[in-house]
Amino acid sequence: MARFDTTNWSVVLRAGSDDSATAREALAVLCEAYWYPVYAMVRRYGHQAADAEDLTQDYFARFLEKGYAKELRPEHGRFRSFLLVSVRNFLHNERDRARAAKRGGGKPRISLDAAAADQRYSLEPVESVTPETLFERAWANEVLARALERLEGEVAETDGRDRFQQLKPHLTGDDQAMGYREIAESWGVCDSGAVRVAVHRLRKRFGRILRDEIAATVADPADVGEELRHLLASVGRFESPESASPERADDSRPGR
């Protein structure tokens, strides 16, 4: 059955070069959500924190202001891949421009918490990944974080935040989880099967929310699976215990 698409990205694409308020809004939503991967990529290109912040703001200001409509093509099925190429082109062209003049100016800005961005970037296990790979990984983590937040909101509404905190490690794979039996006791039931089922439900619900989040960034809902596989590939294989601990992002190194 054909679906009528109104995901954020498909709205933007359909508007094309027409200046539509709905498209702008959809675009703004997407940019507000996914600015960090752009920031991380810009940092990885070797820019210092302050410059990276400026560049990121600049990019989005132009993107949102001018719409970069001329860059949009119907075949740009995924916001992520579009953004990656677009930002790379932007940085390439920016290199020769003076940036001081670009600060401030009342242009539309996204709300970018510079200090938080910097701190987050410093925690990235950068190893020897390219900026593009870092972008993709940060993107994947961003999608997951949003989905987890939505799930937490849902569970908090029906069963309370405590319940979510108990079950969450079983979703995220955290070692520090309370065992099923322990949790069952805290619920006052003797059957840990109830906990197992609750965890299962949580995982299913998370899967659905995740697909929904991703759907917002692709034009064709049929692409959701493909996008998921792409993100899976970008987060990399699990490292063996023998591998060396990853390098931390370090500003003093020359950009690679």
């Binding site: 059955m1 679906r3 009528f4 109104t6 925690l123 296990p125 990984r137 994947a140 983590n141 997951l144 989905a147 987890l148 509404e157 029906t158 979703l171 995220t172 794979g173 955290d174 070692d175 989880a177 099923y180 006052g188 039931v189 059957d191 840990s192 099967g193 109830a194 197992r196 089922v197 965890v199 299962h200 439900r201 995982r203 299913k204 998370f206 899967g207 659905r208 995740l210 697909r211 991703i214 959701v224 699976g225 998921l228 596989r229 993100l231 899976l232 987060v235 294989r237 699990f238 490292e239 215990p241 601990s245 990853p246």
Partner: protein, 387 residues
Amino acid sequence: MADARCRRCGGALPPGGGCARCLLALGLSEGLTPQTGPGPSSVDPGLEVSERIGPYRVLDTVGSGGVGAVSLAEQEEPVRRRVALKVVRPGLASVDVLGRFEAERQVLALLDHPGIAKVFDSGSAEDGQPWVAMEWVPGVPITEHCDRERLTLGQRLLLFVEVCDAIQHAHTRGVLHRAIKPSNVLVTDVDGRPRPKVVDFGVAVALGPKVTEQTLYTALGILVGTPGYLSPEQTGPAPLEVEPRSDVYSLGVLLYELLVGGPPFDPRRLRQAGWAGLARIIRTEVPSRPSARVSTLARGTVSEAAFRRRLEPGSLARELRGDLDAIVQKALEKDPGQRYASVAELASDVERHLGGERVTAAPRSPWERLSATLRNLWARVAHPGSH
């Protein structure tokens, strides 16, 4: 820190973060069709994957009904197929349950309707737990399907009539459902068309007359039905009062949800009220009629509901006013005697509305409803135990 490992896949965990691999895999397995089977991330580490029950090999626990866990299982001989295996929760089985299951199975096997998930087999596992193997229905709850596909009110009503047909088929053969709710009405692909299939028929009956919803709830914290979908008589202490019109009520709740976007009573409120509170609310509180409920929703919620029905926000309440309000109200009457006498009658009225004919349900004013409810309450207080 470098030693933090995901307890599922063993991969390294980022500090303070979750296992991105496993989390992403959850998204993938949610989109899988039955042919490709569940992915590795959907197998719970606590469950024996190679567990066998009867001739079935358990693949994955997919959820729970109030009665027990539901698993996806595979049968190899004499025919290779996937089934939904329901094993009765420990603590519910009693001596006569096995006998009842067998009796029910024979009746259920007579149900042959495209809208009803078939029952294949039943038996008891090594530890004595009764199990039932039924048709595996890969589908989404009807409410979710309607929202995903943004079905119009008319399209939703057509689907609803199909559901009624299935339930009516069972009623004429003496089988009540007793636990109608969206998760028991799955929409699945049949020959390229989305069709609803009702699952979990007769499950509640197998539990026997001593086990009531109240017992289940207070003793085990579970319900066979979903609180908001229980009919007033199902919240009472005498389960023998449950009859076909209880299913009519639950269908009324389903219809309400399909039209409005949410059930008549706030599920959270019901849950927090405890059993007594829940019973009181369902038995005495008259929910807003659909068009009125829509008018009181927050703007964002109305927009969303209208969007999911391909209507302008302002039109939804108007479309529901009149016929649909009346039909829903009649199905949700507290007194079974005031409801549609059968599921077939409910379906007919919906069809009349779709055909532009006059419906039999007459909208009752709030005053009429209130006085009818008070009369009913008075009768119960004065003569406890009678209808």
